[in-house]
Amino acid sequence: MYAINWDVWLPLCILASSLLPGLLIFFLPEERVVMRTLLNLGGASLKLVLVGILIWGVFNGHHYEFRFSLLPGLDLVLRADALSLLFVALSAVLWLITTVYAIGYLEGSPHRSRFFGFFSLCVTATVGVALAGNLMTFLLFFEMLTLVTYPLIVHRGTQEARRAGRIYLAYTVAGGTSLLVGTVWLYGLAGSLEFTSQGFVADLVTGHRVELVIIFVLLIAGVGVKAALLPLHGWLPQAMVAAAPVSALLHAVAVVKAGAFGIVRVVYDVYGIDFAVSLGVALPLAILAAVTILYGSVRALFQDDLKRRLAFSTVSQVSYIVLGTAIVGPVAAVGGLVHLVHQGVMKITLFFCAGNLAETLGVHKISEMDGVGRRMPWTMAAFTIGAFGMIGAPPMAGFISKWYLGLGALEAGQGWVVPVLVGSSLLNAAYFLPVLYRAWFKVPAASWPAERSFGRVETSLALLLPPLITAFLSLLLGLLASAPFSPLQWVRFIITLEYVP
């Protein structure tokens, strides 16, 4: 008799908790709403529980690792290390909330079985990215993420959606190819792809500095597409044609985050920050991130479409993570990495609210938002919290990130970062405050573009509760940042591993 070894199977179960419901949902007839909802929420809740067990286990000294031989010498590895726990927990929590929202949002719309099937696969791929224990596994799930997101973007089946999907693929498939070449090349040089804190490249490769720089560029370009780094960001605003839950998923939970997470992995666990510095690639990456931050903010200023403004805001905000990673210093690294969580929670709030406006009132443009705060006070309250968080006003979560980034930059002797942060905050204020002003203080127009009534509440509860929860979370993350078990404390722990002398 063999007892099941949970240290091996738990990572796989976490993957399966969204994969299997997803596959089952594909085969459900359209009208089996209850069954589908049950599968969706059951899978999402189960995943949350399993992730909870995983975190508890890691605290108690368990070592979770699942290994499966793909090719001689190359394994598919799912492993729970400190960094992967951060991302896996983020995506599990936000997935559950997004699922509730999506069920409410898509009520009565066609092809829901297909939608939720791919929705689940999308999260499966994200969890795979998070748990990947080597670059090969990371690549596999990263590419899978590209493929399963595509049907969500073209879901509506309009010509416009098809074009957006094509642009999305052109960027991401090209990026994936770059990642593939970099990975194979690195494998040829190093003979291993296992993630190790402080990097494996420095130990396994001697010489080949030029090749290693090229490989670094290939890898960063590959993951940078999804993280929407500057010349590679073009797909993100286009993908806005997709439904609001998809945007939330793209921006906060899955795609963009997988890209940013990938950059962290490449810099920390493949190259190692010290070796990256000695190759001279860290500073250019930091500068690129800084440019992206400013560029995204400036472009956001000029968008009238609410979702497009939020999309450019994402371009800008995600690069905080990259910036924190590329500035050499533990404090800045904490700021960048914790922004992975903070940005996710705040941005998902904003997208939920934008979706509520579109779904309830037919409001898509900022110019149509006059006085919307009176019609939908709860939604706009959540939006306001999210927006202030993005600006980085204390005591919101965004403030914590920026504070650590700024401090860290000064500590690392990179003073030029501070003006970038200040400038970006001002720009953030410049593109969010007018929206808030319109919503709260202007007189509403005589009628809304396409209003639906939900009785006494401002919109359906399934749409209203998720943004309220995430808004509350983003307040909490800021207020309780120093409490034990907060993401900030966890990130500090991760960074001590990376910056151990």
Binding site: F26, S69, L70, L71, P72, P110, H111, R114, L139, L140, E143, M144, T146, L147, Y150, P151, V154, H155, G157, T158, Q159, A161, R162, G165, R166, L169, A170, V173, A174, G176, T177, L180, V181, V184, W185, Y187, G188
Partner: protein, 479 residues
């Protein structure tokens, strides 16, 4: 092992041959006979596989006559994998054809298809170059007849062109066989490998045989016959031709290069690589320009065949394995694609890509099959195509020939472009909606099963790679 009374090698050749005769003589029972025999052949291939995996490579002298005089049947890892992929694709296509062919066409399809199967099994088991010629010719004739089965001007024209090319190819090959036989007094591959030396006659033979086989494999620029032939044939036939038949001539080429022409032919190997690269790019660009689904898939075959030739200039163990892996996954994926295209054609009555009209929703299983097979063709995970591409990239980088990397990359991007063009249009609504005919579930599932097999090859690569080592076909040592 020479004098066995009963051999599974002979069985896997005899069974389809008997089936062909029975199907021909009892046309009423043709469909059921064919299906039953397809299961029987697959079963005997499984038994043979079991035998080979336990005992290693097997050589069997038919009738007890040894190599120089009689006919030897030889099976190692390479042949076995070919037999197995033919059995898998063949079985699924047989099931599909049960529903696809109605009474009239079925009478002709089943005997021809069983004959085709006979030819392929015999080809992969042949140990001498003359026997290979015989099987190759048989294969070509059966394939041409199957293309003509569709009827109509297009199909007949394509079949005629295919026939001429096929005969020309076999003729070139036969000339080479004659030259080698004249020089060394044997047609047995193993004996030839021992005796062969670098003489003008060998060079001429190599050139003739290679060109003949390239015609049949449809390597750029000798591919012109393939797209019309593969696109105009009935769906199951297209699947068989694209997935299996072109691979048979490639298999012969591979064997010859590994065993007989293995010495100092780097210039020729580079040339094959260049042609392969041109095929990858040209096939990809042409596929992108097509407006009809089946033509697109046919050009995709032209492109995918190119990859197989990139292994010749690399010529390392890893490269050969990568090539074979790509071949196997392409066989599964391409068969799945053609079957799915057959379903779409059957469903909407046309295969214009721009008017696919929401098949993603209306024919989800078939489109899933197409998409999964497409993922394998692009070389994205999880699929056999990804594993093959990974190994090929690794081999190219390790040999320092980075320019092949560029070809592999661009080919993959082109494949993604033309596959997703189809998938994108299958989500949108066409201007004029067509009356749709229901597609039998068995046809949808057949396509999906093959596509899933291509996906599984991306997860369980260790096993086929272990089988490849049996008898060390790529490992210098030989049997």
């Amino acid at each position: 092992m020479l004098a066995q009374s009963f051999s599974w090698q002979v069985t896997v050749i005899i069974l389809p041959l008997v089936a062909a005769l029975l199907c021909f003589m009892l046309p009423k029972w043709g469909r059921w006979l064919g299906l039953v025999m397809a299961f029987a052949i697959t079963g005997s291939v499984i038994v043979l596989a079991y035998q080979v995996m336990n005992q290693g490579a097997l050589r069997y002298a038919v009738g007890g006559w040894g190599a120089p005089l009689g006919i030897d049947l030889y099976v190692d890892g390479l042949s076995l994998l070919m037999l197995m992929v033919v059995a898998l694709v063949g079985l699924v296509v047989s099931v599909y054809s049960m529903a696809y062919f109605k009474a009239g066409k079925a009478v002709h399809f089943w005997p021809l298809w069983m004959l085709l199967w006979t030819a392929m099994n015999a080809l992969f088991l042949s140990a001498d170059i003359f026997n290979l010629y015989v099987t190759l010719e048989l294969l070509g004739l059966a394939a041409v007849a199957l293309v003509a089965l569709a009827g109509g001007v297009d199909a007949l024209g394509a079949a005629m062109r295919y026939l001429l090319v096929s005969l020309l190819g076999s003729l070139c090959y036969l000339l080479g066989v004659a030259l080698l036989y004249h020089s060394f007094g044997t047609v047995d591959i193993a004996l030839l490998a021992e005796r062969v030396e670098s003489t003008p006659a060998v060079w001429a033979a190599m050139a003739l045989m290679t060109v003949g086989l390239l015609f049949k494999t449809a390597l750029f620029p000798l591919h012109f016959w393939l797209p019309p032939a593969h696109a105009s044939a009935p769906a199951p036939v297209s699947a068989l031709l694209s997935a299996l038949v072109v691979k048979a001539s490639f298999y012969i080429l591979l064997r010859l290069w590994l065993e007989v022409f293995s010495q100092d032919s780097t210039a020729a190997a580079q040339l094959l690589g260049v042609l392969g690269a041109a095929a990858v790019l040209w096939g990809g660009v042409q596929a992108l320009r097509q407006t009809r689904l089946k033509m697109l898939i046919a050009y995709s075959t032209v492109s995918q065949i190119g990859y197989l030739f990139l292994v010749f200039p690399l010529a390392s163990l890893m490269a050969w394995q990568a090539g074979l892996y790509l071949l196997l996954s392409h066989a599964l994926a391409k068969a799945a694609m053609f079957l799915a295209a057959g379903n779409i054609l059957c469903f909407g009555g046309h295969d214009r890509i721009a008017d696919l009209d929401r098949v993603a929703q209306r024919l989800p299983l078939s489109l899933t099959a197409f998409a999964l097979a497409g993922v394998s063709s692009m070389g994205l995970p999880f699929s056999g195509g990804f594993i093959g591409k990974w190994m090929l990239l690794d081999a190219a980088l390790q040999s320092g020939q980075w320019w092949w990397v560029a070809v592999i990359i661009v080919g993959g991007l082109l494949a993604a472009a033309y596959i997703f063009n189809v998938i994108g249009h299958s989500f949108t609504r066409a201007e004029i909606s067509h009356e749709a005919k229901p597609v039998p579930a068995i046809m949808e599932w057949s396509a999906l099963v093959l596509a899933l097999a291509a996906v599984l090859m991306g997860l369980f690569a260790s096993w086929p790679l272990a089988v490849m080592d049996i008898g060390a076909p790529f490992g210098g040592g030989g049997s």
